[in-house]
């Protein structure tokens, strides 16, 4: 069964550094999402991306965050200047196009640790 993959599985970075988290969507999927889960808390929506632009973003997704599909396949989340509170598990999710596609498929996540 096709699956969403994410790299790296664990990233450790120092406060103030830039990080890029990568996601390889399921082939032919058209909708892309990032979610995060701070340790011990619930999964929170960050941003959705469709047709090469952001469809919706939450209040968490401030100017320090950006997303793109640089090569038409990978879907990346960049945090420009990391803060301690950015430490979390980041999940990518993708969804097929068309009215019949309802389910988002989640990747295994990247654990980001900011020190």
């Amino acid at each position: 069964e096709p699956e969403v993959t994410q790299t790296p599985s664990h990233q450790v970075t120092q406060m103030g550094q830039e990080v890029i988290l990568r996601c390889v969507p399921i082939s032919n999927h058209l909708y892309f999402y990032w979610y995060r889960q701070i340790l011990g808390q619930k999964v929170e929506f960050l941003v959705s991306f469709y047709n090469n632009e952001i469809s919706e973003k939450s209040e968490i997704f401030d100017d320090q965050f950006s997303v793109e599909r640089p090569d038409g396949s990978n879907f990346t989340l960049k945090i420009r200047s990391t803060k301690l509170e950015d430490s979390a598990m980041y999940f990518c999710a993708t969804k097929g196009g068309g009215g019949g596609a309802q389910e988002q498929y989640f990747g295994p996540g990247t654990r980001l640790t900011v020190t």
């Binding site: 909708y31 999402y33 979610y35 808390q41 619930k42 999964v43 929170e44 929506f45 959705s48 991306f49 469709y50 469809s55 919706e56 598990m89 999940f91 999710a93 969804k95 196009g97 068309g98 009215g99 019949g100 596609a101 309802q102 389910e103 988002q104 989640f106 990747g107 295994p108 996540g109």
Partner: protein, 115 residues
Amino acid sequence: AQSVSQHNHHVILSEAASLELGCNYSYGGTVNLFWYVQYPGQHLQLLLKYFSGDPLVKGIKGFEAEFIKSKFSFNLRKPSVQWSDTAEYFCAVNARNGGYQKVTFGTGTKLQVIP
């Protein structure tokens, strides 16, 4: 805006006991409903989903859930839990359409099964 409430934050059961985890959602339109499980140190795994049709849905590992539209509920059940069911369970909802709608998660219920 959609929201999800999970009433039980921490449930402790003995093996072979029956399980029911409550989930209520709030949204003015038609929704898709999901239960995800997260085993310790692992990523989200879809247990089951409801899009339409029979309101009683069966998932993996012997879990089932019933959608009761009049109560805005989607409770998760298992007749006899095992130690390996120890995990955190998340109820989730998104608006039913073909667009980019985000998934909104509940706060999760930690299930501890005692041998």
